[in-house]
């Protein structure tokens, strides 16, 4: 069903912004570029736009493939496309690479025009609020005054929530999937260990490793290995790997013996080869900083008082990094504020990664909700 009907050939676009952006930290970025992709057609009254916000390692390439890279399929191709839950026959869907990213938008690995060198450590610390601000400018550029929906999983869900707080009039529906209103101490702790792996790598050079022609591969690799463990459930790991040995026997050494070790090292290597260490640091800090209640004396109910959107909140039973309990905190806040909200708790064995996988109940919920959103907007 959803594995077919891909949208086919797509291409990335760039938007240049020359108005300085002031970050929540006070830092100012004089100009920046965002790389994005769009799918489907914006209708005449521009009411059918959906923004998809990506998670830690995501980017603008949601669906389809590039003409010259047939195997480079978008990360949410099972969800976004013609006839899929986020139906590109009905909606104009926008995916972008966040500011600070490493897939084409201005980030630490981009060349700073002022110095002719990569930003590196000088790239400002970014927050979810700053991302939403930069995304709003992209929406302006594309002529979208109000989104039919802003959708995101995990860190992307936080951006979707923030959209409804920063621009209550510009978001009709928020779909926050496997997300949280703010991180717990345990979650921040995981991020800090991951960051420390990178920060203490001798090849990190305080963030300016580009000039030294090295990459803090060891740190990135460890960060990803740790992250990966937390994205899977105990059960999923047991099912997939158990105590299976790579060579069928114990070798009494520190090389890879168990299949899980082999898998994690492979994932770590793959990631370290393509992802920017500074972007990883920025993204995890953005996760840690996000707390809509911060400016309201810690009161989440007050923070959401300004929202005017409707919400769909989805969690997955075996997700312990962004557990169902955290999604229910979002729901409770929305109930307190009398927002329209539905909440689905999907029984899935795949932990946090569930939000990226095709699951019948999850997809039925998404489809049912978005079918109603589609019926609110003209064709």
């Amino acid at each position: 069903m959803s594995t077919t009907n891909s949208i086919g050939i797509v291409r990335a676009q760039r938007a240049q912004f020359d108005t300085p952006l002031t970050f929540r930290s006070g830092a100012v970025l004089p100009r920046y570029e965002l790389v994005y992709e769009t799918y489907g057609k914006l209708n005449a009254d521009k009411s059918n736009a959906i923004l998809i916000c990506h998670a830690l390692s995501g980017h603008h390439h949601l669906a389809g493939h590039y003409a010259d890279e047939p195997k480079n399929i978008g990360w949410w191709d099972n969800m976004v496309g013609p006839g899929k839950p986020i139906d590109t026959d009905k909606f104009f869907v926008i995916g972008l690479n966040n500011l600070g990213g490493c897939h084409g938008s201005t980030g630490p690995s981009s060349i700073a025009p002022e110095t002719g060198k990569p930003y590196g450590a000088s790239f400002p610390m970014i927050t979810v609020e700053d991302w939403v601000e930069s995304q709003a400018r992209l929406a302006d550029r594309l002529g979208v005054k109000q989104f039919a929906a802003v959708i995101g999983g995990s860190l992307g869900g936080m951006q979707a929530l923030q959209w409804s707080l920063a621009y209550p009039e510009r978001v009709r529906h928020v779909l926050a999937i496997a997300s949280a209103p703010r991180l717990t101490a345990q979650n921040i702790a995981f991020n800090d260990v991951a960051r420390n792996a990178i920060l203490t790598d001798p090849d990190f050079h305080g963030g300016d490793f580009y000039q030294h022609n090295v990459v803090p591969t060891r740190g990135l690799r460890l960060a990803r290995m740790l992250g990966h463990i937390t994205y899977l459930s105990d059960d999923a790991m047991a099912d997939k790997f158990g105590r299976e040995l790579r060579t069928g026997q114990l070798n009494y050494g520190y090389d890879v013996e168990f299949q899980i070790e082999s898998y994690l090292r492979y994932q770590g290597d793959k990631f370290a080869g393509m992802f920017d260490a500074n972007t990883y640091l920025l993204m995890t800090k953005a996760l840690d900083y996000f707390d809509p209640a911060h400016d309201f004396g810690g009161d989440m109910n007050k923070a959401f008082a300004r929202s005017k959107s409707d919400y769909l909140v989805i969690s997955f039973t075996t997700d312990w990094r962004f557990s169902p309990q955290r999604s229910r905190e979002i729901v409770q806040t929305l109930l307190h504020n009398r927002r329209n909200v539905s909440y689905a708790e999907i029984t899935s064995t795949h932990g946090h990664d569930s939000f990226l996988m095709e699951h019948p109940h999850y997809f039925d919920v998404m489809r049912a909700y978005l079918d109603n959103v589609a019926s609110e907007v003209s064709r």
């Binding site: 769909l312 229910r328 729901v331 409770q332 109930l335 307190h336 009398r338 329209n340 909200v341 539905s342 909440y343 689905a344 708790e345 029984t347 109940h361 039925d364 919920v365 049912a368 909700y369 079918d371 109603n372």
Partner: protein
């Protein structure tokens, strides 16, 4: 969920089969806030939304029903009623409804208490076990199986069946004041010998003083 399903048709048929819907709707003023526990496919909430403009939420545990509720355009929270209503604040609803679900709850006392913590008033509807046809079945030596009680003894979710008298005694003992009662058989209201002639009971109640 089948994609081409006509929701309106579905709703009408389901409302017609559930005469307690109309009785419940009569008690609910326009614009009230309503929490429907065990809301199933959301057809009662949708009915109340369309006829009474209520601000409503449902609570349901079943996956398929969650999708149906969303398709019906009603708010639904997926949760197990038996674990309480901790997502909901005190006095946050005008009405908390438990429609054809009371008899299937395990922690019935705790749930009725929760209903009156969260809501100003509670409404329950349930099949009357004292209905003469049920009594006749038992007299003949069998557990009743009927339109209101469609299950066999071995597969029924109904663990706490009661009669009108039983429920009223329960209210008495739990400081619950019954405000109104409708007893029906099909679409007809039964005023005479309700505990014998009525197949379905609907009660509106509040915390007793």
């Amino acid at each position: 969920m089948s994609k081409g399903m006509n929701m309106n048709q579905y709703l009408v048929s389901s409302a017609a089969e559930r005469p307690d819907f109309a009785a419940i709707a009569e008690w609910i003023p326009k614009g009230a806030s309503v929490l429907d526990l065990g809301c199933g496919d959301g057809s009662l909430l949708r009915y109340l939304k369309e006829t009474r403009r209520v601000r409503g939420y449902g609570v349901e545990i079943n996956d398929v029903d969650i999708v149906m509720c969303i398709a019906n355009g009603v708010n639904v929270i997926q949760n197990d009623l038996e674990s309480g209503l901790s997502d909901f604040e005190d006095n946050s609803f005008d009405f908390v409804i438990l429609s054809q679900t009371l008899q299937a709850t395990r922690h019935t006392e705790a749930l009725v208490n929760e209903m009156l913590r969260v809501g100003r008033e509670g409404i329950v509807s349930f099949p009357n076990f004292g209905y003469w046809k049920n009594r006749l079945n038992v007299l003949r030596g069998h557990m009743p199986v009927s339109k209101e009680l469609p299950y066999q003894w071995y597969d029924t979710p109904n663990v706490h069946l009661c009669t009108l008298h039983d429920f009223e005694m329960f209210c008495d003992r739990h400081r619950v004041t019954v405000l109104e009662r409708r007893v029906m058989t099909g679409a007809f209201e039964m005023k005479l010998l309700p505990n014998l002639l009525g197949s379905t009971a609907v009660y509106r109640f509040q915390r007793g003083i």
